[in-house]
């Protein structure tokens, strides 16, 4: 197999960084939102700004709102309107008991998951490593 065509095929199969992040976020993001509400009530714009601060957890602020709608639908958050002296009234989100419980159960589950992924990604010295074969010069960029 020529090196050129192999890497061409592989680059079409490897997911982009964007879709990788999307998949990773799907599981954890709502729990991050719930965790932010553990000790204070926040309004939508505030949550969105905090989550997008480095672009890792969330890249565009708008994707927060369907998530908040789902959390409210499943009873993990509630909302209440608060008038503001400096501008339009804002909808504040607060954790429900079910939401608080969900976060506290997520934490250990996440840590276990994270540890498992970490150790699989960076093999320990005991794990068998593959010796590079002489004929393959494939490079996946």
């Amino acid at each position: 197999m020529r090196a050129g065509s192999a890497s061409a095929i592989l680059s079409r199969m490897v997911p982009s960084d964007d879709s990788m992040l999307t998949h990773l976020r799907r599981g954890a993001l709502e729990y991050c939102v719930l965790a932010m509400l553990e000790h204070e009530e926040l309004y939508g714009l505030d949550i969105a700004r905090r989550l997008t601060v480095d672009g890792t957890l969330m890249s565009s602020e708008g994707t927060l709102y369907p998530l908040l709608a789902r959390l409210r639908k499943t009873g993990l958050v509630t909302t209440n309107w608060r008038e503001s002296t400096t501008g339009p009234p804002r909808r504040y989100y607060a954790l429900t008991d079910a939401g608080a419980e969900a976060v506290s159960r997520f934490r250990p589950a996440w840590q276990a998951f994270r540890n498992a992924v970490d150790s699989t990604l960076s093999p320990t010295t005991d794990a068998p490593t593959e010796a590079p074969t002489e004929e393959s010069h494939d490079h996946v960029d």
Binding site: R26, Y43, G44, L45, A48, T52, S59, S60, E61, G62, T63, L64, Y65, P66, L67, L68, A69, R70, R72, K73, T86, G87, P88, R90, R91
Partner: protein, 258 residues
């Protein structure tokens, strides 16, 4: 009172989001839209809702398709892109600009025609002047022939009625052009309410200025020269002002076309 969510860019953004979310549970859809709408309002609060600022806020929100994608989760996002409404396409602002130009031209031609009629040309050769400026001084003993004609063209006070109906006549002539212009402006989403008002009032305001300014100058100075000069100045100002305004508004609308 217009809120920030009335800006055309915001309106079309929210409209597209609504359309993309049609397949989502109605309660979730309503809440998502409300949340995004509130987000925009808060983000623009206290800031000048200029084009650049609105675009920046919408860019931070991200494309409507991304929000819809988040709403659909793992389900496939079926987003058939419907064609842009016919009144929000490129042709409209260009046609409006042309109509405004033609309308102004018609109004100016009619007005100058009527003004020419209102000015008497010259005295008849055989006798007294056909018309003179009535400045209230009676008892002129000097023979009329010796009165130097300061300018060959004078304003005839008897033509006051002509000048009075000049404005409505000019307006009526331009009406055939102004009406479709106003309809097009009203139908499109490419301008804010304020911008639409400016477009619609452009022609009537220009006519009023072109007629009133010389009249006021004449009423104050009783001088034909002032009447003439003011007419020219008003014409220049109206031409420059309307050209600037039409260009600015047309450019803005063209930038907003999808």
């Amino acid at each position: 009172m217009t809120t920030s969510t009335d800006h055309p860019l915001v309106v079309s953004y929210l409209a597209e989001l609504d359309r993309l979310l049609q397949g989502v549970d109605p309660v979730e859809r309503a809440e998502t839209l409300a949340g995004v709408s509130e987000h925009i309002e808060l983000a623009l609060d206290g800031r000048d809702a200029s084009e650049a600022v609105v675009r920046a806020v919408l860019a931070e929100l991200g494309p409507a398709t991304a929000i819809a994608g988040s709403a659909y989760g793992d389900r496939a996002l079926v987003a058939a892109h419907p064609p842009t409404r016919v009144t929000n396409r490129r042709w409209l602002p260009i046609v409006v600009a042309c109509l405004q130009g033609v309308g102004l031209l018609v109004a100016i031609l009619v007005l100058s025609g009527m003004m020419g009629f209102a000015m008497s040309g010259s005295e008849s050769s055989s006798g007294g002047p056909v018309g003179v400026m009535d400045d209230g001084s009676t008892g002129q003993t000097a023979p009329v022939e010796e009165v130097p004609a300061i300018s060959p063209v004078v304003v005839d006070p008897g033509s006051a009625w002509t000048r009075l109906v000049a404005a409505p006549t000019a307006f009526l002539s331009a009406l055939a052009i102004w009406l479709p212009t106003a309809v097009l402006v009203a139908l499109t989403m490419l301008w804010t309410a304020r911008e639409k008002t400016a477009q619609i009032l452009l022609l009537p305001a220009a006519i009023v200025i072109l007629v009133a300014a010389p009249e006021i100058a004449y009423a104050i100075t009783r001088s034909t020269g002032a009447y003439f000069a003011t007419t020219l100045v008003a014409l220049a100002l109206v031409a420059i002002g309307t050209a600037t305004m039409i260009t600015t508004l047309t450019r803005r609308a063209l930038r907003r076309v999808e």
